[in-house]
Symmetry: C2
Subunit: 530 residues, 2 copies
Amino acid sequence: LDKHRAPLYERLIEHRSRRAASFHVPGHKNGATIPQPEGLQALMELDYTEITGLDDLHQPEGVIREAELLAAECYGADRTFFLVQGSTLGNLAMILSVCRPGDLILVDRFVHKSVLNGLMLAHARAVFLTPVWDPLTGYAAGIDMESFRETLHRYPEAKAVMLTRPNYFGYAADLSGIIDEAHRAGLAVLVDEAHGAHFGFHEAVPVPALSLGADAVVQSTHKMLSALTMGAMLHVQGGRIDAGSIARTIRMLQTSSPSYPIMATLDVARRLVHTHGRDLLEQGLAAVRRFVDAMGEMPWYVLPNTLQGSRDDDAARFVASAGQAGDEDLCSRGPNQTNPMARTRTGAVRDPFKQPVRDGTGTLTGYELQELLEQHGCMVEMADPQHVLLVFSPFSSSADSERIVQIFRHIAEQYQLDKKELVPTLTNNNILPLIPASIEPIQFSRHMMNPEEADEVPLALAAGEYSADMLIPYPPGIPFVYPGEQLTEELIHILKLMSGKGARFQGGMDSSLSKVRIVRRRLEAHERMT
Amino acid sequence: LDKHRAPLYERLIEHRSRRAASFHVPGHKNGATIPQPEGLQALMELDYTEITGLDDLHQPEGVIREAELLAAECYGADRTFFLVQGSTLGNLAMILSVCRPGDLILVDRFVHKSVLNGLMLAHARAVFLTPVWDPLTGYAAGIDMESFRETLHRYPEAKAVMLTRPNYFGYAADLSGIIDEAHRAGLAVLVDEAHGAHFGFHEAVPVPALSLGADAVVQSTHKMLSALTMGAMLHVQGGRIDAGSIARTIRMLQTSSPSYPIMATLDVARRLVHTHGRDLLEQGLAAVRRFVDAMGEMPWYVLPNTLQGSRDDDAARFVASAGQAGDEDLCSRGPNQTNPMARTRTGAVRDPFKQPVRDGTGTLTGYELQELLEQHGCMVEMADPQHVLLVFSPFSSSADSERIVQIFRHIAEQYQLDKKELVPTLTNNNILPLIPASIEPIQFSRHMMNPEEADEVPLALAAGEYSADMLIPYPPGIPFVYPGEQLTEELIHILKLMSGKGARFQGGMDSSLSKVRIVRRRLEAHERMT
């Protein structure tokens, strides 16, 4: 295996150079025959299909297999699957492979909605794990170890534990303690590491979950590396997960006409990080440092993930409570062959490529900051009531860092932030700690999504009712209300607060959430039907 | 609604012109910062995500909603959903929306594997319908009307009928009689029209299923029009299908990071066919005519779908047996506003853009023809034991037609086909009529794909056993063996025949099908677990 090669991409280029005539789909005939509008022409040129020589993602035996083998080597997996439907597909496939109807799985409370959709499709039962909170951002930042042990003891029939790492703000809990404990109890560990495709390639970023012993890990190669959107990988190692079962489940859910451009960019993104991993990340970290250093001159902005902050005491405390195992070396595997620094179980806790920023004076909400930044041409990843989240990547430029710092400076002057007092802690519209952790298993069912007797009511009148829908502020796409969950006064208050501050909602009647769909019958009615 | 606009594409171009800085995913930062390998740079430029102003496919309220409304108008639907995961997603979503576990659905025997995957995910029961055969190609070409009526009568509890149209060789049965009969019995009609996104825009191609009254229709816009691979649409009309339920099911299965380039090409492909429909198709038909006319000089090649053949007696007979309703006008809807010719229920039966070709002398198999054509730089869609299938599109060029005709001429000379006698009928390795139609309902289950006690045996020793896997020669990706289906001597003989002739198989142990996975327990064992 030659890591300098990108066999799938090279085959596409070679095929193009043959100037073969297309008597096959896609219809655009390599984009050559008709003028496409600007910007689309080039998109077509490598958009082939499963013709002779280009292998078949659903049964890879040629260049796609080679590309997947190289990816497995790069990431230290026993087997890597290319996905063209994002980490969404990876999460669905992991859960559907592990859970038969009624099987119990332990799950992070603050998972991506695709995990919940997987539970519904699988008709699985889930116990949601008690999180620990990151006081610097207010977000869930791992699993409470003590409570995890209790849960393992209480539910010996559990098949697996499904975890999310890092969280949306780049907090990557050291899961090694959790993973070891789960393995001792016979559980497989599945990790949604959608935002961690770059982990392990530089000592400033966290160690990947695969190096911590996870059995199956999904990563969005498009999110932090250079694949096209929808390009992702699912890595499997060890004997706890049946790779054949994963393969069959992926085949059920993935299109029979996968995009070659997406697959080719997976191949090329892997080659780039496989051959230039640390240097590549270093380049992007330079842009991050430029940003962090300049923002340091404006103390009214709080940056929880500053490079310094990633090693601060608070973070360390939370790592400890998330079950960190210590400093011992772990493995000879993982993506870190070229970088001995990262060949340990420890690494940064906060991903410096994720930079949440909040107005420490409490003058501007995250949504307001987002609007002001975007008015000046800096598009951000998301906002919550307090933060705006900037996502850097290995491909970020220092010029862009300077540009956004100037806007932050301009905003500070406009709102005279420098003349205001800093609010010492997070303001109390920090919603997450208000949501109680479930401890009883919830029986998921596909019909949660298709309740036949749902009624529409204004959100304000829904107190005490049970939500028919999953309500998901987006981004980050993490569900706040589950189907079948009771809409308490408290929850409605929080939802109205978010909506009033400009959050958009998926899953409900409309994105401003003026109305919700409720089921008057309890969840149990749905359970009986499965 | 201005059909000359492409609101989503225009917004992407507008966003690019703003030269905004990206502090969001995807990681490649608009492809601007690092040099990509040749051909990939341009792919990145419009690869945005759900940032402000670019709407959200999962809750469309802006430019994506506008683009979907225009598509609905173009195709005569009440609602159109953009899909970025191909017709595969459309088929899964239609079935999962309609079927609860145990619900009965009537299904074409020769459906795309995604339909069967949908049945498994839905835990539906299916009755497979007796097909009629097209004697010109040997493929299924519609549903036997008499047997359909009997099935409706026997299973009054059936919820829907799921049909495929056209078949892979471009035979588009006139389903109006079947649809009327199904509606009278209270069933919804779902149609996999993956290869028919261009239907209705020219009198030489078939009328679309939506115009024939189907309730939900999925079309691969990438297959016959100019969208990127994975771009498809799901159209819904009337009150028999709950569009809200379809929307929720799509949200469960579709990635939370849909590709903007794919969505933009859906928008642009719609604009092109919406504004220049007939002229666009006419352009491609010129290439088809050039091909058909030249091939007419070589009578040793048989072309079942010749432009003349599309109106021949054989075809008409099969249309009649498939329940054609006659010549009456149907509707003021459908994509045909600019083309009064096509505003009826009748149209061509065979899509001239699909051109199966076989060696009428029986000298060369379809696989051998494929190899010879591809050696000379003409890539084809697929081969079966007899045919090679050429797919033209509105974007095919007459130059390519001339090129492939020359190769056919060369092959004829090389094998002296002109000196051989024509075999009057299809040779008897025509496999499809050998497969009996099921008449008892089959309970599908997700665990068909994950049998825990599967054994591997050589194909030759599998007679009498039950297949653990779905065995799918690809292309066309239509299953020949279902999970839980008994591997008879006859079936094994056919599979070996296909494998020996070069067919590739998905779903099994390897693509040459030397081994198969079997379950010794009967299907019923799986049923009990659901």
